[in-house]
Amino acid sequence: MNPYLAVAALILMVSMMLMLPLIPAFWELRRKSDARPLNVVQQNAGEIRHFASSFRDYIKGLQPILQRCVADGISASGALPDGEEYVVLGRADEPLMLALQQRDTTHPVMMAAGVDLVVPPSGTFSRDIYAGAQFIGGDKNSYRAILGETNVHLGASSRVTRWVHAVGDFTADAGCRLYGRISSDSLIRLRADCGFLRLNAPRIEIGNVAINRNANLPDSSSSRSAPVERFFHDGDFEVRAGDVISGNMVIRGNLHIRSGARIRGSVKSTQDMVLDDGVSVEGSLISARKLRIGPNCAVHGPVVAERELAIGSGTRCGTLSLPTTVSAPRIEVEESVVVFGTLWAREDGEVVATP
């Protein structure tokens, strides 16, 4: 073979090999098949009621049928323009409603009820439910999503896989597993052994709450908007029982706040933090690891633990007038706890019995 030709062939081959990874690059550059800006969450921004609001908009077309069914005491069924099948219930003793009364059945159609809806136990509701009046679920049911225009009550050991929104009170009996978003415009009440992820309501009661419903912490919003004066401490720190500390604390270590102490500011610990019985904190409470609150504590501002959070009985977080967020990957809440605002367990939340 001609040596010049061999060299030329070698150069050509090497060039082709080098060009190989550029072929898909040029292809994509020309076709622009994935050139749109990254889709970022711009408008709903994680709003807890987003799915409920979207569902309300979605079923607007059903409202005339629902009103007619309620007025005439009949039911109707059909399909929405996108093919979604529905059942509209206008009377409690109507045949379609009675079909619900059978146990251990699966209901694969979207339901809209204009009257009180009482469903039997051990059913699976794999499509969304709209309840124009009260919704009362039997035990051991499984729901995809429920929008209730008044109260929603789930029987013991029920399961929600996506979301529930109640305009009125929401109650989950013992042993319910609430995956996804649960919200109410007035009250959420969870009984013992319930599991949860994200809850939002003006008032969230865990277990039997025996404290004054109107009790509020003093309003300290004015102190929080003032410039921050920080008390900085490197290493573990302990606040003695009954001490009153006016100011904000940053502890680079473990922090233990003893019984009855009062912090008139916010607290941050870069490691574990423990609040004993009857501690009150007027600002935020943030731990970079584990946080144990209570019992009978009161925290005004947001509560964040980066690893685990345990809340003892009788503790209150936020107030009716100034709701707040309590958040951690894993949360254990004892009974008789009240949170005003959001209770958000990113991985696992559990209601546990008071020891």
């Binding site: 711009q42 807890i48 939002n200 410039p227 605002g341």
Partner: protein, 413 residues
């Protein structure tokens, strides 16, 4: 000569290892988003500063967006900082002031020192809230962004907050697509990994926030800095304040669409970064300050990312020189240098980081453009080296830095 090469190869290996560490952490490690779940609170009053210098093409967009965000209107005041604009910026801002009475307080600056930091410094006389957010005028904040950026300030250690920047004009041409990939690697992997590992997430000066008391404690905005964001990050760190990164607090921006603008932008960043390295590097690493050991090490490496471009060039030159001198035992070292060089420029994002970021973002085909990043890499390495050379020359001649504004490409409204 050979020992210098050894040192350079070692430093490049450190940066390469750092990139892999960050990427693996992002793919498999514990992800920290501690403040993103705070959605209900007694929200504090906040001031939003919008830096605007000849921004007639974009300023209306951001003001419109800010007027529709989900934050209590009585607790948010917007201050457009009109820095000596000679176009219609003032007119547009004043129209918004009329349309939204009590919600926008304009700051029109007619003279004074140039640059964003100097303008922000002057505007501070209007600021009285503890929480301040800063946006450049070409950004478009989403409805929930303000709450997300304010939430970390409930943590008393937090002095600064940084959100994620996402190019809006990503699909315009090859440059914007490459910048889209670079931004993705820089934020989705680099910044979030530093957040996860409790290192030093960098304040970006836009889609960002700062605590007023922290700012006062560190002496306010440094008007002599070319990159006030890097300067702020390090002064906060030295004084015991944390800067946190919120990866889910995304905001659209406009990236340069032509290479000369991009080159000027990266040269300014390089000069500002190097300036911060000279000012704070030694003090951070060895001085008495409140930074933790891991913050000191990462902070120092972060300060050095733009210095790595000339260092890599010198490394290549030295490797060639020793090769032609026939120093045989260096084959392994040279091979190591060539392997690591492409992954060495931290802030320009290593390919592995970018590929992982594209995966995390759930994008599909744009990763095909990865080989073209060699082009961006080549432009960056020479531009950044040129910036370093001109900085040294300025130091010798005593010439002053000047601030280049990044040109906008949106159509005038």
């Amino acid at each position: 000569m050979i020992y210098v090469l050894y040192i350079i190869v070692f430093v490049i290996c450190v940066y390469t290892g750092r990139h892999y560490w960050f990427t693996l952490n992002r793919l498999f490690g514990f992800q920290r988003h501690p403040y993103i779940d705070i959605d209900t609170a007694d929200w504090p009053p906040v001031t939003v500063l919008v830096a605007a210098h000849n921004e007639e093409k974009v300023v209306a967009n951001i003001l419109e967006a800010l007027m529709t965000v989900k934050y209590p209107a009585d607790k948010m005041i917007v201050i457009p900082v009109n820095d000596r604009s000679t176009d219609r910026t003032r007119e547009i801002i004043d129209k918004f002031v009329e349309d939204f009475p009590g919600r926008i307080q304009p700051f029109h600056r007619a003279g004074g020192k140039g640059g964003k930091a100097a303008a922000l410094k002057d505007a501070m006389r209007l600021v009285s809230t503890e929480v301040i957010l800063i946006f450049d005028a070409d950004y478009i904040p989403g409805a929930g962004l303000i709450k997300q950026l304010v939430a970390p300030f409930f943590d008393l250690e937090v002095g600064g907050v940084m959100g994620r920047v996402v190019p809006l004009n990503a699909g315009t041409n090859l440059l914007t697509r490459l910048l889209d990939l670079e931004r993705s690697g820089g934020y989705q992997v680099d910044q979030q990994a530093r957040m996860n590992l409790r290192l030093v997430p960098q304040h970006g000066g836009t889609v960002a926030g700062v605590r007023l008391s922290a700012l006062r404690e560190i002496g306010g905005w440094n008007e002599n800095s070319l990159t006030e964001d890097t300067d702020l990050t390090y002064r906060l760190l030295l004084n015991g304040w944390k800067t946190v990164y919120q990866n889910r607090s995304e905001c659209y921006e406009e990236v340069p669409e032509v290479w000369p603008v991009r080159i000027r932008q990266i040269m300014r960043w390089a000069k500002g970064h190097n300036q911060a390295m000279m000012t704070y590097g030694l003090h951070l690493l060895l001085g008495k300050n409140r930074a933790t050991l891991r913050e000191r090490i990462d902070g120092t490496l972060l300060l050095g990312v733009y210095a790595m471009a000339p260092v890599t060039l010198v490394g290549w030159a030295l490797a060639l020189a020793v090769f032609y001198q026939g120093i045989a035992p260096l084959h392994g070292v040279i091979a190591l240098l060539s392997l690591t060089a492409y992954a060495a420029l931290g802030n320009l994002a290593a390919f592995f980081e970018i590929a992982a970021a594209a995966r995390l973002d759930g994008t599909r085909k744009r990763i095909c453009l990865l080989p073209f990043l060699i082009l961006g890499f080549a432009v960056s390495i020479f531009s950044v080296s040129r910036a370093a050379a001109s900085q040294i020359s300025d130091l010798v001649t005593g010439a002053e830095f000047h601030w280049d504004k990044t040109e906008r490409f949106r159509k005038v409204l």
